[in-house]
Amino acid sequence: MFGRAVHLVIAVPHIWLRETLSQILSDRNVEVECVQTLDECLDAMEQPAAAAIVDVFGFPQPYGELLDALTGASPATLIIALLSTDSIDYREAVMARGASAVLLQERAGEELIPLIEHTLRIDIHR
């Protein structure tokens, strides 16, 4: 019933948002690695991650450059892009650069876990 924990990376520069996301996943069957820079994120993805939850507009790097680096380093890792602005233009922009899914930051409490499960087609039950 309880398989091996899935490896997730939370790549968020802002500590509060990073901690919040980490806590949402704290009682789930996942192995979470939190990072705050692109270099740290690339290091973390050397151990294959199922998904990376990335605050794509929170890094100093342009979002396109960031997504290119992440998808280039680990093509198998699915990118869940965190957005603070809910607009189809932002959704389309990050999806066009390699994100697999989009999550609005303010809805993370309700939607992060279902989204991970839906995107990875797994059950990360407690």
Binding site: F57, P62, E65, L83, S84, D86, S87, D89, Y90, R91
Partner: protein, 879 residues
């Protein structure tokens, strides 16, 4: 010119004593602080000035005369004046600050008034362009030439000779007066226009400017004008929907505080706007980002969801509205032309689904549905839409859909229920206190005698000798104006003189590049100015005008709940004179009755504004005099008048400088728009042709379409703006669209010369992180903004809180053209804007096509640029 240089000139040229000069130096900050980048050295002034002020000075109520927001402007400010020099400023601090009756405190703009009045770029004496000669001389030198200082007598002689020559040769239709001067002739209207009126007339202008496309839809669909719930009625709302309303920046006084009070009472706030503005950041529970100029599609998508789920308030629509569905069409109208069937796509084959709307406005369909459910289930809801939501081609359509959508929710006529475009508490609705008028007799303009502000005279179709604002400059350049569809078709125009007075038209009107061209075409440009602004820069003759601080006191309204009585604060700086003195001097030289042009002497004008001040009775039953005036008061003021009984004495009012109507929650003065109609629609019909709210309004369509600028249907519909305008019209060359919100740095174009405001609120090119990344642009990079009409250089402000494809450049920055490149270094969006008139004379400031690119060059930060943007160059052989 540095502040130090300005002070030296003060010392040399004015009659200020050395003691006054030293205090003025303290206010200006001195060379040391200016060089250190602290601008006016306010800290030093606060410490030093306060000590001195406590010993010698007095607080004087001073006018903040700027119209930062229609009807909600002009907070109380008081200047601490020591030996004739203002050294400190304060706002409403003496009255208790109560929740229901808060102090009327000024914003950063009001508190920057000393800097504005004593600015280094004040025009100090009359100036003539060095190479000007009768008929213009080398006109291309306008904006490049040197200046020669002249006397007032010389200046008025030159002006009178040129006016006479142009009148004699070309007639009154050759004079374009870029100033405000409508019929009431009061404080904000330019008395110099009285001279042109008396001479035989002049070509004026029209258009809605601030109001966008709202006046006609409100008038003909609701039967009222500028009607909305007041602040206490708004506090009853459980949901506030603000579409394109950035009240935290652009509505003065306490408007944002009143929204917070509604939140305190349990209201949720939804802001619909292309960017995460101050209001959305500070007050919104939900921000719905939307592409500029697509709000119509957004509301139609929400309306579809309401209709198919039967969420609309059908009882309200059946009782109070006509035109919603086929069963409620007015007599004579086709049943197929109803709004419901349009939304459902019954006859045009295009259902206006949330998915359809989403593709246009960029809002997720699920968000549109959620919005529809919220507004139809939460009662009472107050809907407000900003003027800018309609400032695009056929913008009346948004107004039509907005009213219709609001009525679909039934939120009218009860506290907390509201559907209006003007914010709470403007003075237009039911003013609670007003000022009197000067009592002067103003000669009418014989060319255009009708006293119409917003529109041309559609009823009589007689002489339409007015230029629409968007097209004014291009019309002067082209020598014709109007439309082929007008009576007699397009009209020739041969403007030989441009007069600038109470406005900053060359900076404020769209297509400013054509404006410069127009200024280099005519024979004579005369500008009356406070500061060396864009009007002055391209003029031949510049006259130094005094600010209201340097004039006689008077009572002024322009707010629903208070009036101000300000006093003279300082003597006129340098050689500045009042514009009424300019009018007198010109009238005298032109052989007119100068005394009649001047009107009442100042003490009488002031008295008339005082004696004519009216206040609403506590039970709301009517107005009564505000001020008790005795025979002794009249004698002391040296005026003619009658004693009267009012609510406060002359001395009380003079001491406080402000009268605020006492208010409390749910008092008898609370205003709920359309309440009598909702209470009894049979007994109190609205003033429309059907006596109901007209969702189907053929009168509106007829009136708007007469102008020939755009075309609308009797019901609200969505149409792509224009082939060359709006989000859907973006091209490879111009893949972005411009919108131009107000800035806290300015009140329209006023105050852009104030260094402290420049430093606090840099004029940035606000753009989305998506668009910036695609161009390799980061915040503070210098960027070139290019439209089909001009180029502007700015520093980028890259935001995640901006809809991709949209770019904001706040309105009002002063043009500063680099003559070598033609690029505006000042950041004026009107350099980019199209000469595109629409609807009832609406300026299409939203949706101009744009490209933004990284620029390989330098641009000084706003705070580091000279306050006047460009140096005033004097000819070496001048005095």
């Amino acid at each position: 010119m540095s502040n130090e240089g300005f002070i030296q000139e003060v010392l040399q040229e004015s009659s200020l004593s050395r003691r006054s000069f030293l205090k003025l130096s303290a206010v200006m900050g001195g060379a040391a602080t200016a060089q250190a980048g602290l601008g006016y050295g306010l800290k030093a002034v606060a410490a030093d000035g306060h000590k001195k002020a406590a010993l010698n000075g007095e607080w004087v109520t001073a006018p903040c005369w700027h119209n930062c927001s229609c009807g909600n402007s002009r907070c109380l400010i008081q200047a601490y004046v020591v030996d004739g020099v203002p050294v400190r400023i304060r706002s409403d601090e003496e009255d208790e600050d109560l929740y229901d009756f808060p102090q009327r405190r000024a914003c950063p703009r009001g508190r920057a008034q000393i800097d504005h009045v004593l600015a280094a770029d004040r025009i100090k004496y009359p100036m003539i362009r060095k190479h000007w000669e009768p008929g213009g001389g080398n006109k291309e030198l306008r904006g490049k030439d040197e200046w020669v200082r002249i006397s007032w007598d010389e200046a008025l002689d030159i002006a009178a000779r040129e006016i006479n020559r142009i009148y004699d040769t070309h007639g009154p239709k050759s004079i374009f007066t870029a100033s405000w001067g409508y019929e009431n002739g009061e404080i904000l209207w330019d008395p110099v226009l009285r001279v042109f009126n008396a001479l035989g007339g002049h070509v004026s202008h029209y258009g809605t400017v601030s109001f966008g496309a709202w006046p006609f839809p409100e008038a003909f669909m609701t039967g009222s004008m500028l009607d909305c719930n007041d602040r206490f009625a708004m506090r009853h709302a459980k949901l506030l929907v603000l579409i394109g309303c950035n009240w935290a920046s652009n509505k003065g006084g306490n408007t944002a505080y009143f929204v917070q009070q509604a939140k305190d009472s349990g209201a949720k706030v939804i802001v619909v706007d292309p960017w995460l503005n101050r209001t959305a950041k500070g007050l919104a529970d939900q921000w719905i980002p939307i592409r500029p100029g697509t709000d119509t599609a957004f509301l139609l998508g929400a309306a579809y969801h309401m209709i198919v789920n039967d969420l609309q308030d059908q009882d309200f629509l059946d009782t109070y509205c006509s035109g919603f569905d086929a069963d409620h069409m007015p007599e004579g109208a086709s049943k197929e032309d109803n709004f419901k069937d349009y939304v459902l796509g019954t006859y045009d084959g295009q259902p206006k689904t949330p998915e359809w709307a989403s593709q246009i406005c960029g809002v997720q369909a699920s968000v549109i549905r959620d919005f529809a459910v919220q507004v139809s289930s939460i009662k009472p809801t107050s809907f407000y839409a900003g003027q800018s939501t309609t400032k695009f081609p056929a913008g009346e359509q948004f107004a039509q859909v907005f009213f219709t959508f609001g009525w679909m929710t039934g939120n009218v006529g009860r506290p907390g229920a509201n559907v209006s475009w003007i914010g709470p508490d403007p003075n237009f609705t039911v003013p609670l206190v007003t000022a009197g008028r000067y009592g002067d007799t103003i000669p009418p303009n014989p060319i255009y005698p009708d006293k119409i502000i917003f529109c041309i005279d559609l009823n009589t179709k007689r002489e339409w000798e007015c230029l629409e604002y968007s097209e004014a400059w291009q019309s002067i350049v082209d020598g014709e104006y109007g439309r082929d569809s007008w009576p007699g078709g397009k009209r020739p125009i041969d403007i030989r003189m441009i007069y600038h007075g109470h406005a900053h038209f060359l900076n404020s009107l769209p297509n400013a590049q054509a404006g410069i061209e127009a200024h280099r075409k005519v024979d004579f440009v005369m500008a009356s100015c406070l500061h060396y602004n864009t009007n002055a820069h391209y003029a031949d003759l510049v006259l130094p005008i005094s600010t209201l601080w340097e004039r006689h006191g008077q009572v002024m309204g322009d707010n629903r709940e208070h009036v101000l009585w300000w006093q003279n604060v300082i003597q006129p700086l340098f050689e500045a004179r009042e514009d009424i003195d300019v009018a007198y001097g010109l009238a005298d030289r032109l052989g007119l009755d100068a005394d009649a042009i001047y009107g009442n002497p100042w003490p009488q004008k002031e008295f008339n504004t005082l004696a004519g001040a009216m206040v609403m009775k506590p039970d709301g039953s009517g107005m009564e005099p505000l001020v008790t005036i005795t025979a002794q008061d009249i004698e002391a003021m040296g005026v003619e008048g009658q004693p009267q009984k009012g609510r406060i004495t002359v001395e009380e009012f003079r001491q406080k400088g402000i009268y605020k109507v006492p208010r409390e929650m749910d008092d008898a003065l609370m205003h709920v728009a359309h309440a009598p109609f909702i209470e009894d629609p049979e007994a109190n019909p609205v003033a429309t042709s059907t006596g109901k709210f007209e969702i189907y309004c053929p009168t509106l369509a007829m009136m708007v379409n007469q102008y020939g600028f755009s075309e609308i249907a009797p019901i609200g519909k969505y149409q792509e703006a224009e082939p060359d305008h709006g989000y859907a019209a973006r091209t490879e060359d111009y893949p972005l669209v411009l919108f131009t919100p107000h800035s806290l740095r300015r009140a329209h174009t006023n105050l852009d010369n104030v260094p402290s405001l420049r430093e606090a609120f840099p004029q940035g090119c606000f753009m989305s992180v998506v668009d910036a990344d695609a161009r390799g642009i980061k915040t503070d990079d210098v960027v070139l903004m290019t439209s089909p009409h001009g180029k502007v250089l700015r520093r980028a402000k890259v935001m995640h809180g901006m809809v991709p494809g949209a770019v904001a450049l706040e309105d009002g920055a002063w043009t500063d053209i680099d003559e070598e490149t033609g690029i505006d270094l000042g950041g004026n969006p009107n350099i980019l804007q199209a000469p595109k008139a629409s609807g009832q004379g609406v300026q299409c400031w939203t949706g101009t096509l744009l490209q933004v690119e990284k620029y390989n060059g330098e641009l000084l930060a706003d705070a580091d640029r000279p306050a006047h943007g460009r140096k005033i160059r004097f000819a070496k052989d001048s005095a």
